[in-house]
Amino acid sequence: MSTLTAAPITAPTIEYGELAPMLIIFGAAMIGVLVEAFTPRYLRKSIQMPITVLSMVGAFALTVWQGVRGVRSAAAMGAIAVDGPSLFIWGAILLLAIVSVLLINDDDHFVAEAAAVPGSAEEDQALSQGGAHTEIYPLVLFAVGGMMLFPAANDLLIMFVALEVMSLPLYLLCGLARRRRLLSQEAAMKYFLLGAFSSAFFLYGTALLYGFAGSVDLKAIATALSTVGGQDALLFIGAATLGVGLLFKIGAAPFQAWKPDVYQGSPTPITALMASGTLIAAFGALLRVFWVALGDLDAEWTPVLWGVAILTMVVGAVLAITQTDIKRMLAYSSIAHTGFLLTAVVATGKESQNANALSGILFYLLAYGFATVGAFAVVTMVRDPGGEAGHLSRWAGLGKRSPLLAGIFALFLLAFAGIPLTSGFFGKYAVFAAAVAGGAVQLVIVGVVTSAMAAFFYVRVIVLMFFSDPAPEGPTIAVPSMGTAAVVTLSAAATVVLGVFPQPVLDLAHTAAQSLFVR
């Protein structure tokens, strides 16, 4: 427990071994920056890519090893929790990050000269010289490191730092799309402004909670709930504004407005990374704050989250129906899924019940992450002369021209819709079952109804692809690079395997959730 009044600052003990997966990522990011500084331009990509992938693979291996060893501790003086959920989330984020990096590695997604004004002569020149920003690799590594730290932070200040470490590189990356530059820059700008705004809420909440509990440590806040009296205003406003910061990151209504714009404008590989990794990380952090710090306050926040969950599901599903852009549709779909996940967050109670809800959420996040990355990978392959063919009308008849690709995309859509034999079914079942066990039956009813609404717009795309006549000058299907092909294949395989043999991963999620969060 850190109190600011203590006079001599003792050097903290840091368990480097347990934090190794994260440290590797951050270290690799640093090396990446040095590579940018000291190696010639033509070499950079061939150095950055191996560094990025190898560090992630190494971090993943270490995470697995930690999991096998059964590490459950609050490292770095209790500031960073390396426990079951953290390890599962790390593993999931790293897997999805590796897959996303394969997508990012493709040429053609990122701008040649970010500083050039869109449409200017400089831009044309940079394009013709075949320039590319290789800074994206260290930026991605920093973002991934932030994503890992965010859900593991056991202390609100560390969590805030992680939030910024995760977000800042993403703000930048959002603006680096090669095509439709203005849209991309607008997205980056919006994301940054709104992100900063929500970070302010987060920080304000942290401050108020510090005022209430005298500490930013999650465990200390939990203890203070029962010992400190008469400070309800501090507690309530602090918890609520902290919640706003977290709910913004997962994209729950009414804080979802950034998602469609940002998802649409960002380079699609970055969208894939955000839609999978950021969501997982933010959910981890949200759960840690609400279950660890505010666990005994559940009587107060459960009704509030009920409302948020219902609003999120309804807004996501209803608005997705009238979307005409595939990436915006997937963004609204992501909002709806956030709502589905929130139903399980609401279900708190006894420990075993929490463990079930947590394992359901973890499984759902992994399943959804793979389907999302896969879906965005397919999006990158359907191209118009001006870039990706975003408008849904361009997807008409795709099933006739490229049945394999359309079939795989249909698989991802069916997984989003939660159709049995896909991963989405078990994910949805797990969270809804947890919510029912937690007494949130009405919430689940709303969830099922909105799922039905969501199924409509997923299936509509399938109908469009397979039962409409192809557009006369339809989009071309890019011949996928090795990386993209691998991403699509891996994601499709994961979606099917998790849908047919979910048991091993369910068991893993269950084991991870069993210990709950360390306090």
């Binding site: 609520a240 009414p254 407005a257 950034w258 009587a299 009704p303």
Partner: protein
């Protein structure tokens, strides 16, 4: 040995391989259907080979079965666990006993002959391979029906033959009438099948099993009400499959199928499945006299109805179909009499299988010669042109009217006499039926083969090729000697006894019983009247209007009209009502809901202005809302 013998487990020997009889034709069907056009050239030969192979296995099994003592001739060959499911655990096995092996020999024997005949009959059909595939499928399903050792296996076979029948009636589906007939057969059979399914359900709830062995052995312990319910439900199934009143209407239309199909499925084998079901379930009917009585009444009513319909039909196949109905009515009547009738029912069934198949194939041979004409008013005087067909058809004809010493004489006379002892009223009705049979069969025979030719101009009648006449000859041997072989000295009754039990008193037929003499007399009257009207007199080329009785018979006793008035039209009204409700009520609701959500979506979309300031505003308001809500909840 009044009751049936114990069922013993069996393994090894050829009996152990009896599943081959089913598997071989099934394999044939699979190869022909999956192989597609590649198998066109030799498909028919494979079909015949599979059917013949099945017959050979059946014959060997039969002799192996004869090797056991009479009490050991009910043998079950366990195959596999069909449905292992909690309380309903169905083990699939084959029951080889005198009853089932009789059917197996009939199905594979007559079936093989009809397969061979079809090579010639279907020679010019481009889809001959598919035809043989369906025939093989039928044989496999029918064998499963009679060989299964439990009601579920029977049901699977029952549906299988229904499917094959449907496919074959509609074989020439380019003809709307054939498609409609297939549909009709399927739908009418659905009604019957529902009865069979219900019967099996009640059997399971009552006995806790659906294997023949325990069900039939314990039948006497169930209450009479339950047994009556089961009996009537099974009878409904039997009525559907065997075209008995009130589910008879499909059989006449089923003649739209190729003639070999009419001979095999709609005369010799499938339509007798109902008789098999009743005889197999004997102990149930023995415990339920009411149900048994209903069986006999249905049998008599159908035998009269079929015979009356037969008198007025000018279509040779429809006249024969009416006759089939009528003859199955006789079998059903006998089956309803209990153990005393079982042997006659099955003997008549086998004899009928021979002579009716022979006559149907003969009719096919005539049609083959007359450009597929079926109207008997355009036949006449064919005897000299097609000697073999005439002779074999003639023998079948004599057999069915019960000409002394031919097959039908023995078996039908047995049924009539047994009925006479049971209930004189039914007995005399059966005698009248025999008289009508004499009339309409003679009418059919004279109109076709005798009198002056009334052929169409382009008709050049000729004898059919050997591949078609040889089956006719072989079948007619059965129609001549089959009855005497089975009935004399109660041979068949003794043979069947282990399977169906033996009557307390063996029937003893006086050579000149009242019933026998009366039957011969009325048959003679019928034949004579037919000769006067259709043999000696001129047959008008266009059917006269006829009395209301003729019209009554011609219109199938208004069976279709009744069905249409009672079921079809109310059904159509119900459908229209449902469609109306669906369009206005359900669709209206659904579409309205969809429009509402779509409209909401469209309106909500406008909130997404794209201005970051309004997004920030929404976050701020959301945060205010959250804080407010928190306070409200916290202070509750």
């Amino acid at each position: 040995m009044e009751t049936a013998a114990e069922i013993v487990q069996h393994s090894g020997g050829v009996i152990g391989l009896s599943w081959l009889t089913i598997a071989l034709p099934l394999l044939g069907a699979a190869i022909l259907l999956l192989g597609g056009r590649r198998t066109d050239r030799w498909g028919h030969l494979l079909g015949v080979a599979m059917s013949l192979a099945s017959f050979v296995v059946a014959v060997i099994v039969f002799f192996e079965l004869l090797g056991f003592g009479a009490d050991e001739r009910r043998r079950v060959v366990e195959l596999y666990d069909f449905l292992p499911g909690g309380t309903l655990d169905v083990k699939m096995g084959l029951l080889l006993d005198p009853l089932s092996i009789s059917f197996v020999l009939l199905i594979t024997g007559v079936g093989s002959l009809i397969h061979i005949y079809s090579i010639g009959y279907m020679a010019h059909d481009p889809n001959r391979r598919r035809f043989f595939a369906y025939l093989n499928l039928f044989v496999a399903a029918m064998l499963l029906l009679v060989l299964a050792d439990n009601y579920l296996g029977l049901y699977v076979g029952w549906e299988g033959v229904g499917l094959a029948s449907y496919l074959l009636i509609g074989f020439w589906q380019h003809k709307p009438s054939a498609a409609a007939a297939a549909k009709k057969a399927f739908i009418v059979n659905r009604v019957g099948d529902m009865g069979l399914a219900l019967g099996i359900f009640v059997i399971f709830t009552t006995f806790g099993t659906i294997a023949y062995g325990p069900v039939l052995a314990n039948a006497s312990q169930a209450s009479q009400g339950t047994l009556t319910l089961i009996g009537l439900a099974l009878l409904l199934g039997a009525c559907g499959k065997s075209a008995q009143l009130p589910l008879q209407s499909w059989l006449l239309d089923a003649m739209e199928g190729p003639t070999p199909v009419s001979a095999l499925i709609h005369a010799a084998t499938m339509v007798t499945a109902g008789v098999y079901l009743v005889v197999r379930s004997g102990p149930i009917y023995i415990g339920a006299p009411t149900a048994a009585l209903v069986v006999t009444i249905v049998g008599v009513a159908t035998l009269l109805a079929g015979a009356i319909i037969g008198t007025a039909k000018d279509d040779i196949k429809k006249a024969l179909a009416g006759s089939t109905m009528s003859q199955i009515g006789y079998m059903m009547l006998a089956a309803g009499l209990g153990p005393v009738g079982y042997a006659f029912a099955i003997a008549h069934l086998i004899a009928h299988g021979f002579f009716k198949a022979s006559m149907f194939l003969g009719a096919g041979s005539v049609m083959h010669a007359m450009n597929d004409e079926v109207d008997m008013r355009k036949f006449g005087g064919l005897a000299p042109k097609m000697r073999i067909t005439w002779a074999t058809f003639g023998l079948g004809y004599l057999a069915i009217i019960g000409f002394p010493l031919l097959s039908g004489y023995w078996t039908k006379d047995g049924i009539i006499e047994a009925t006479m002892e049971h209930s004189p009223i039914l007995g005399w009705l059966a005698v009248i039926g025999a008289g009508i049979t004499g009339f309409y069969m003679s009418r059919l025979f004279f109109m076709t083969f005798h009198g002056k030719p009334r052929w169409e101009k382009d008709a050049h009648p000729h004898e059919s090729p050997a591949v078609m006449t040889w089956p006719l000859i072989l079948l007619s041997i059965g129609s001549v000697f089959g009855g005497a072989f089975l009935i004399m000295g109660n041979r068949f009754m003794e043979f069947l006894a282990p399977a169906v039990g033996r009557p307390k008193e063996l029937p003893h037929f006086a050579p000149f019983s009242v019933a026998g003499v009366a039957t011969l007399a009325v048959v003679a009257v019928g034949v004579a009247y037919a000769w006067l009207k259709y043999g000696r007199a001129e047959v008008p080329a266009v059917a006269p209007r006829g009395s209301f009785l003729t019209v009554f018979a011609r219109r199938d006793l208004y069976g279709d009209a009744i069905n249409e008035a009672l079921f079809m039209r109310p059904g159509q009204w119900l459908t229209r009502l449902a469609v109306f409700f669906d369009n206005r009520g359900v669709d209206g609701l659904v579409n309205g809901l969809a429009a509402l959500i779509g409209g909401t979506s469209g309106r909500l979309r406008r909130v997404q202005t794209g201005f970051v300031r309004s997004y920030a505003m929404s976050i701020f308001l959301g945060a205010a809302l959250l804080v407010g809500a928190w306070f409200v909840v916290g202070n509750l």
